[in-house]
Subunit: 436 residues, 2 copies
């Protein structure tokens, strides 16, 4: 079965790209080309300028390239068609293909899924593809790029090798168990398990940073009415490149804006919107507001310098005294003075947010995992290793310990895709866009 889909973003443009993959793609695509290209043997990786002709009607002048099995993105025989960026032309070309026997519309992420299935990348790298496409800051770009290049996969292979070494030691012990030979003392095995746990825990701990790299710093603006929350939002946006979110038309109950500071994405949530609707669905509003404050990486508590509220918030807080042009207040190290009106202090505040959350320059480490799936698998692996250690300490025989260890290894294998269930794999690729 050949799959086909638009691979470039939908919409009117200079060029659109249609991608096909599967056995016999070359012959099927050639049938739609001008007589010259139809009759000749194709060279792979070459761009042919030709016509796309369906039932005698020339649809468009296109360029087309063919890729050999084993030497394409998916690993299968493939083709890419570059046509005018006209939605109606894209539709006409795809409709022609979909009416063919043996061609169907690609599922979301199916091209990359094929690449994974054909062993050209592991699951961690495949997940990095979608993160890379979605990245909205230098930090997100760097982490997904590194993951795609195999940085994280390499680290996971090292952990895998540690666990396999442990397994072989335990199995060796088991083979000679009847002869009552003890090659490796239990203390040595426990030391090796502890070492593996220590290495894995570095990744578990790195998750918070990884998440911030990928998803940005969640900043909640809180404070009483009229202290200047919306003004601060505007002041943030004014000086910076605003990241345009492409969820047009979606109702957004919470106002979220994004800016990039020092390479990090700042996702700024204005709780004002929630309060204003409190009279309508009060409980809903309060619980959302609370959730937002809980999930925030940092809270900006905005106060009116001329009349600062006594209210206190818990968490990672910067107190922001606005209207400092009207009244000079004395502040401590966790506070800043700004004026949204004059712009004083706004730029410094942005950098302070990054500093207070990250406390370092943009410098990515491969153990900054960013995916909650990876985080959960690694936590589970640690708990299974701890179980193996407990079994040894309890004096269980090696068969039991080996079962624990095997479980830990299988769990770890779920990250890279070795032992991942098809359900989870399908779910991961289902989050891709069509045509990737």
């Amino acid at each position: 079965m050949i799959i086909a889909a638009l691979a470039s973003a939908p919409g009117k443009a200079g060029i659109s790209v249609i991608r096909l993959s599967g056995n016999n793609t070359v012959n099927i695509v050639k049938e739609y080309l001008s007589i010259e290209e139809k009759l000749q043997d194709v060279e792979y990786n070459k761009l042919y300028l030709t016509e796309f002709i369906n039932e005698g009607e020339s649809i468009d002048q296109i360029t087309v390239a063919f890729f050999k099995e084993g030497n394409s993105y998916t690993g299968e025989e493939s083709a890419e068609i570059f046509c005018h960026g006209s939605p109606i032309i894209v539709r006409k070309i795809l409709e022609a293909f979909y009416l063919e026997k043996g061609i169907r519309e690609a599922e979301p992420g199916e091209f990359t899924q094929k690449r994974f299935m054909n062993g050209k990348m592991d699951l961690v790298q495949a997940e990095a593809v979608i993160d890379l496409i979605n990245s909205e800051s230098d930090a997100a770009f760097i982490s997904s790029r590194e993951q795609l290049e195999g940085g994280l996969s390499e680290e996971l292979k090292k952990i895998n090798a540690m666990l396999i070494e442990l397994m072989s030691i335990l199995e060796l012990e088991l083979d000679f168990a009847e002869e009552d030979l003890d090659f490796t003392p239990n203390e040595e095995i426990i030391r090796k398990i502890d070492l593996a746990v220590e290495v894995i825990n570095k990744f578990v701990v790195g998750y918070k940073k990884g998440r911030i790299y990928r998803d940005g710093i969640k900043v909640a603006l809180v404070g009483e009415v009229n202290v200047g929350k919306s003004s601060l939002m505007n002041a943030f946006l004014k000086s910076d490149r605003v990241i345009v979110t492409d969820i047009a038309g979606t109702t957004r109950d919470i106002i979220e804006e994004k800016i990039e500071v020092n390479g990090y994405l700042l996702r700024i949530f204005d709780t004002a919107g929630i309060r204003e609707t409190q009279d309508i669905i009060e409980n809903e509003g309060i619980s959302r507001s609370r959730k937002l404050i809980e999930e925030a990486d940092i809270i900006l508590h905005i106060l009116d310098s001329t009349n600062p509220s006594e209210e206190e918030f818990l968490g990672n807080i910067i107190k922001v005294y606005n209207k400092c042009d009207l009244e000079d207040v004395i502040i401590d190290e966790n506070s800043v003075k700004i004026s949204c009106k004059t712009g004083v202090g706004v730029e410094e505040l942005k950098h302070q947010i990054v500093k207070k959350v990250i406390d370092e320059k943009l410098s990515y480490q491969p153990y900054y995992i960013s995916n909650i799936r990876h985080f959960n698998i690694l936590k589970e692996t640690v708990s299974q290793l701890e179980q193996a250690k407990l079994s040894i300490q309890e004096g269980q025989n090696n068969e039991v310990v080996i079962v624990d260890m095997r479980q830990a290894l299988d769990t770890l294998g779920e990250i890279t895709g070795e032992t991942t269930s098809m359900d989870i794999i399908n779910n991961i690729f289902g989050n891709f866009c069509i045509g990737k």
Copy 2:
């Protein structure tokens, strides 16, 4: 100067395409590639799988193709880069280029403008490119495709040849004027002018059809409150593929929806919205409503079968008796009975609209010009030819007639770009998207 821009639609996707054109493009792009591609001589029209590296940082794994001067879209040395469809990657690649001396961001339509300037297509064909990208129906697709392929250009060349033949006759007469030789009788020249006018007028008359091919049939829904205008709109949309307009965020005072019927785009305007806001800016609302009705190709006058209004509208009208499930009315040939509730008659009404406006199957003729610029130029050419004819009839000497004829020829040349001013050319390409 090299120009560079994103050529595929902006947004997150599998693939994005970046296009560059200008002298030395190959050498400049090569500097950013992996060492292997950087050092080797490039083959044109071949896809290289490589990395895009900026200041030591690998930005993305890309494929890139180079095109030779004289054998590219623009006619200049060019390159196309296919990267992951990640806006941040696109930004990073373009920013790297824009920081180079001698590369700048392409203006809207500049790639196609270069193609035109380098004589690879005329202005009529260039205008067809933008129409093709914007086409939203089979009819629009067919007409822009035909125009791009040179169908209209061929017809215009024939007219041009007629006028040039006339010119040479007149000039010949002039050369021998002193010898008082008269090769061609005036009647013969007038006959030839009349013939040219007749041919051109076929195009002038064809404009209405061409416009409908390209822009669709404007349908205005009018009628009193609660007769079912919005219900009819919904009934139309329910059964058909709705064309999604991509002018998100634009305030639309008039509700416009688009559907495709028999290959034609129906642009349905509901005047309900205008009436509802009449109390706010009454005059504005009425004048818009009036303008809409005047400009409509057809008016659907919706009436309530149970209580039909006596109001009458002028123009190309279909009277639509809604709620025919409740009351059976007697109708004439310009009326239809429908029920938006049960769906009865809705499908037939759509086809009747097309039939009443077009009165034929989708069958494109090359003299269906669709561009108001072409329309105005051809009308002007006709009036200048009429002036030449008048000069002959008035017994003016050939020099005067030649001036008239020269003017007609120059005017005609404005269509294909031979005599078009740079202001008008820039204005035409300014309506393109960037990257085309």
